[in-house]
Assembly symmetry: C2
Homo-oligomer: 233 residues x 2
Amino acid sequence: MASSTVENYLKHILLLSEGTDGLVSMGALASSLAVVPGTVTTMVKALADGGLVAHRPRQGVQLTSEGRHLALTVLRKHRLVETFLVNVLKMDWAAVHDEAEQLEHAISDDVLDRLDALLGHPTADPHGDPIPSRHGKLSSQVYATLATCAAGRPVRIVRVTEQSKEFLQFAEQNGLQPGTSLSVADRNLTAGLVTLRKAAGRTVPLSLAAAGKILVEPEKQSARFRPKPEPCS
Amino acid sequence: MASSTVENYLKHILLLSEGTDGLVSMGALASSLAVVPGTVTTMVKALADGGLVAHRPRQGVQLTSEGRHLALTVLRKHRLVETFLVNVLKMDWAAVHDEAEQLEHAISDDVLDRLDALLGHPTADPHGDPIPSRHGKLSSQVYATLATCAAGRPVRIVRVTEQSKEFLQFAEQNGLQPGTSLSVADRNLTAGLVTLRKAAGRTVPLSLAAAGKILVEPEKQSARFRPKPEPCS
DNA sequence: GTTCATATTTTGATTAGTCAAAATAAATCC
DNA sequence: GGATTTATTTTGACTAATCAAAATATGAAC
């Protein structure tokens, strides 16, 4: 059984290697895990001995297939737990990340499967982050962001890629959650400001940096009245 | 924040001190925690430094009110989690103890309260073990057991005080769970054997030792048709 | 092609929790 | 009351995970 520490290292390597060639630098991993770089070097060598990662000295670290499988399981636990906390226990979506951070290391595969069934086999968590499938498939679909999509085009938010409480609370207060329909009214690159227009005509100003954290897809007519995800009964 | 290890020490001290003067011997604690006695001595001294227990060298250890409060919170988490796993996730009651053993250290007080509400503020877990109240009250009602109650008297099972998988599976297969009505048909002390008669007239043989683990109360007429606890909706 | 800045690795030390085995205190038994 | 058994404590050592700070590569700049 992998320790919580090992599970965390693998999870962070997985997240940092998303959309790259797979090699993660020691420094990036260290700051992601909030430990000093020397600690990471030591730990990564131990993980390499255990066959969970491949370590290229002075270049970076990469998951082996075994390590990737374990990391995906941890990520699946994390995101299903978040979904449970929001949909069933009605917790604030800004609070659930920290909770899930603990619970992901404590729930068994059996409980995981039962939670999955209870929730109706969701494919994304409350932030829109994709939930790895039971057999280790992780959707890596590429979306536009509010910083890059065409102005005036009706879009729907599919994902908010930021876990900090502050950002999520702000997003919630301004109705910027997966499922929300809106369009970019204006984008001022020199001022770094994006103005959004929501359904009722209400406008919301947003920094370009924040807009880049919000992923969107083109609004589909057929899904115009799609309700927000319901908690399971 | 107390570590899982500290929480476990406190929980075991609490359970071992139930119904005694409160002093728990080092040896009893060591075997309960499955560590060697020397480890317990070391750890108990650290807990005493932290104000969670009072250590009387060569005599035993006792919770302080702060330690007792923490232990009760852990026990409350354990038993509410067990209830959730059985009532909501429909897990086998023999499997939930080990799961809860992990989860009790990972769930926050906020999640605890929400689980409690979701489950309808239960007062006992699926084994009939009392759930400490939010403010630290733990029912210590004394019951008769199938080894001690009067033969022929109609009784109802209220609690099964044994967590081993094997025992719980046996009990389930023979319909010996909280809520079951039955009576002791015969008790043979020399053979160490108890024979139970269940509702449909079916009889079940049981060792005296096992019978002592099953707590009962006199059958109340008004509760004859009391249904088994329902999972929350 | 040296020099410099930066990232990485190494080294030595620390903390929490544990075990094995020796030392000590307490209780019991003629 | 001295000898023996039993529980407890002490001592020394170990593992996992970490940090601080020194040593070492690597790549960029001049």
